[in-house]
């Protein structure tokens, strides 16, 4: 009877241990994922600032068209897309 109880207790301990280990792994993974998402978001914001600078340069001294300036702020990528020329595959060795 005592043997059975001890075995049961051991199993419960093992199960709790496994659950704790799993939770720890999940938390570590979530932390890493969060960090990479923050980094990715920062990169995306930096890239968008670059798009905006390029679009604003494209429209510099464009006397008329406040709507165009507003579009450059809202969707600089659209303006860059309209102006791109010479699109070619990227070659990196």
């Amino acid at each position: 009877m005592n043997d059975k109880n001890t075995k049961k207790q051991n199993s419960i301990r093992l199960l709790i241990g496994l659950i704790l280990a799993g939770t720890a792994v999940l938390l570590i993974g979530a932390g890493r994922l969060g960090d990479s998402m923050i980094t990715r978001q920062a990169e995306q914001e930096a890239a968008q600032a670059q798009w905006q600078t390029a679009a604003e340069r494209l429209l510099r001294n464009q006397g008329t068209g406040k709507d165009l300036q507003a579009l450059a702020k809202r969707h600089p990528e659209y303006l860059l897309q309209t102006m791109q020329t010479g699109m070619r595959p990227e070659r990196r060795d």
């Binding site: 390029a54 340069r57 990528e77 303006l79 897309q81 309209t82 020329t85 010479g86 595959p89």
Partner: protein, 244 residues
């Protein structure tokens, strides 16, 4: 089934699963670590594209600030290739019809590229870029148009520009040619990934090099002086402000 047979079957199934898992793990390792560089290199020409963003040409101004020549951004809706005779092509035609553009479609590809709508407003640029995303046949194509002063005497002094064989705009006569080095900028460069339809994946867009606009040139004479004396501005000119 006896207990021994059951155990043997279980062991066989588990062993097979173990081999499968090991094989999959090896494949994942090979793709993500061993061959990563090679595969990335192979993917670049398929998905990644480089393109140029032109720089604005500097303005030519008289001493009193009248603009004699400047770049104006304009944008047209262009058809680059005819819609295919499949469901995708039909969808595109339906979209063109819904936006009342289909009437301007050329009948043969010899007439391509064709302008479907000229001088789009900013709202139309936004609208059409969204609507025709996923249809590389249609493109909102921007351009920098050189706008000159209306006065014919001064216009002659300002001169002309033309595209060279690298498709860059260069001054070919008058002040445009004389101050070409100052007025010309340096184009920028972007990198973007395309999806299977050839559309931009905006999240991947990177500006590798910002365009550097040309510098404005301010002349040493006022507009009235330029109109009145056509002796040529060369001696009375001075270069002006930088611009980017």
């Amino acid at each position: 089934m006896t207990s021994a047979e059951y155990k043997i079957r279980t062991v066989i199934i588990l062993t097979l699963l173990l081999f499968w898992a090991a094989g999959a793990a090896v494949k994942v390792y090979i793709y993500s670590v061993g061959d990563q560089e090679t595969l990335l290199k192979q993917s670049r020409p398929i998905a990644w594209r480089l393109a140029e963003i032109p720089a604005r040409r500097g303005r030519i101004l008289s001493r009193d600030g009248a603009v004699l020549a400047e770049d104006i951004y304009r944008c047209d809706l262009m058809l680059r290739s005819l819609p295919g005779k499949n469901r995708r092509g039909e969808n595109l035609l339906a979209k063109l019809k819904a936006n009342r553009i289909e009437a301007k479609l050329p009948e043969t590809s010899a007439e391509l590229p064709a302008v479907l709508r000229k001088d789009l407003t900013p709202e139309e640029i936004e609208k059409y870029t969204r609507i025709f995303r996923g249809y590389p046949e249609i493109r909102t194509a921007g351009r920098l148009e050189r706008k000159y002063t209306a006065d014919p005497a001064v216009r002659d002094l300002v001169g002309e520009i033309a595209r060279n064989n690298r498709q860059e705009r260069v001054g070919t006569s008058g002040l445009e040619q004389e101050y070409d080095l100052d007025l010309s900028g340096r184009s920028g460069q972007i990198r973007v990934m395309l999806d299977r339809n050839g559309s931009w994946i905006y999240e991947t867009l990177q500006v590798i090099r910002q365009p550097e606009n040309g510098r404005d040139v301010r002349l040493g004479k006022t507009l009235a002086e330029l109109k009145n004396n056509g002796e040529g501005p060369r001696n009375g000119n001075q270069r002006g402000m930088a611009g980017n």
